[in-house]
């Protein structure tokens, strides 16, 4: 009973075969295609800044509807590395450009990267809101986080957490290549390595969320990530020195020890759409985004070193 079926299935089958021949056409032609009527700006880098960058992109649609901004995170180092290859238009970085990176850029493309200070951030040390501790010194942070550090319990810091039997400190950190991790290592731990065994989470928000649900946890993240269930500690450079809270004013007068400025970099002096975008970022509208995200706008930030 080999009845040949009506023609629809056969045509379908042929369609599938026809599609087989369409692949090369599709692959080759498509790579060159894309949209030409719109300008696409590629923006990549710091995870600390990715949320700000996202709101910039969102808000900029209102100012320039024909410009599409693609925002990716990945970390400061990755954004800069992509910039040096000419793969992105703008790199976000929560640290300064290294000398070696500038040299690399000149070698690759013949252009020197241009940097813009677009705001500032205080790296806040977070604990659970029920934790009675209110301030911490950099020395204590080193004992807690650095390789060879001895502190493993809250009682060793003279802190009793209410309603908790096991007061082992749950150290929350970031994955090892984020700019935040590197900044914390450099400025809080004096470039010593982290002690292994901390929960190295993949997102700034995840850090704050875990601290917010764990009474015995401590973690660090940008000040923009604060929520109601966590508390930001005041930080003192050393025992006896006055502890400073991460506020806009403290970032401004550089009294907070873990403050850093936020930058965007371009390859060479920006032109056209990219320049317009950066100008907009530095305008009051763009700076309001920075402030709304919980960071320090550039007018109040320390001048670029």
């Amino acid at each position: 009973m080999t009845r040949v079926r009506p023609s629809t299935p056969r045509r379908l089958a042929l369609l599938v075969i026809a599609a087989a021949f369409a692949i090369p056409a599709c692959g080759g032609g498509g790579a060159k295609g894309g949209k030409s009527s719109k300008t696409v700006i590629q923006n990549k880098g710091s995870d600390t800044m990715v949320n700000v960058a996202q709101v910039w992109a969102e808000e900029y649609r209102k100012a320039a509807p024909d410009v599409e901004v693609e925002v990716s995170g990945g970390g400061s180092g990755v954004g800069i590395a992509a910039l040096l290859k000419g793969a992105v238009d703008i790199a976000n970085a929560s640290r300064d450009l290294k000398m070696s990176e500038a040299e690399q850029a000149v070698k690759n493309t013949g252009k020197l990267p241009a940097g813009y200070n677009v705001g500032a951030d205080a790296l806040a040390v977070y604990v659970h809101k029920d934790n009675p501790m209110s301030e911490i010194t950099l020395v204590q942070l080193t004992d807690l986080y650095a390789e060879g550090g001895k502190v493993t319990r809250w009682s060793e810091l003279g802190v009793t957490i209410p309603g908790v039997k096991d007061d082992t400190i749950v150290r929350v950190s970031r994955q090892s290549s984020s700019g935040t991790y590197e900044f914390f290592r450099e400025h809080a731990l004096g470039n010593r390595d982290f002690r292994l065994g901390s929960r190295d989470l993949n997102g700034s928000k995840e850090v704050v969320e875990l601290v917010g649900t764990t009474p015995t946890a401590i973690g660090y993240s940008g000040m923009g990530y604060a929520t109601a269930s966590v508390k930001m500690l005041k930080v003192a450079p050393k025992a006896g020195a006055p502890a400073v809270a991460p506020t806009i004013a403290a970032v401004h007068d550089k009294s907070y020890p873990l403050a850093r400025s936020l930058h965007v970099y371009t390859l060479g002096e920006p032109k056209g759409a990219v320049k317009a975008y950066i100008d907009w970022i530095l305008s009051p509208a763009g700076q309001k985004v920075v402030e709304d995200a919980g960071y320090v706008p550039v007018a109040a930030a320390p001048p670029k070193p």
Partner: protein, 297 residues
Amino acid sequence: MAGRFAKTPHVARKEIAESIARGIFGLMSAAMILPLVLIVGYLVVRAWPVLSWEFLLDVPKRGMTDGGIWPAFVGTLYLVGISLLVSTPIGVLAAIYLNEYAKDNWFNRLVNLAVINLAGVPSIVHALFGLGAFVYAARFGYSILSASLTLAIMTLPVIIASTREALASVPMAFREACWNVGATRWQTVRAVVLPNSISGILTGVILQVSRAAGETAPVMFTGAVFFKAVERGDLFPYGLTDQCMALSMHLYTLATQVPNVKEALPYATAVVLLGSVLLVNATAIFVRIWLRNRKKW
């Protein structure tokens, strides 16, 4: 009193053991249902406040803490669609080769092993491959093209397996009848085998859609972005060389990276992703059952 057919203690013990075994295994099977129902139920309940068509069609707002998921949803459609365009023909033809052409020799056993292994390669290794091969070596850059090709190779075994199954279910007698009237191998495949298995192949394509839509790692490193501004409801916001948002990665970023997000938002994103995938799968299952009932041989 005990009749002639009363159970001996031995038989009674046997039967008790039997019912215990049945009960335990039955419970173990029932334990499969529970997580599915609980997970879907819980996610839907948590997502309820924001679930609406508006949520699907709207763009993310206020730093992705509010609004909808349109750019991510349409991005996933792009990735899945293009990967399908590439993997369906290759997969179907590969299955035709394996089922209709290949002789049973060492080489074709190797092909079989390769298909099995391709299915077993971890998704993160596919991501590494996509990054090394498409983004860098082929110079497609971070783009929809790179991500779709990565997904295509990853989902290839799905379509090969289900197409083979469909082809194999066409009785040998059909082919023999066709050969006997003088048709070539390809004419037989086209006139008899494919028409009789096209719906089975369709099931495979559907399953492939569901697999591709849910994958995160392979697109995260090859072409998906954190955010891209797109018009509400715009069906064609991306070009092949652009990067795009993807639903699966959007869920990951909402859950780990975006502060102060509206509580129901990540749940609703999870529900849309899960809902689409389960819907697509249910369609495949339905097609299969419908087919089985229709088959006349």
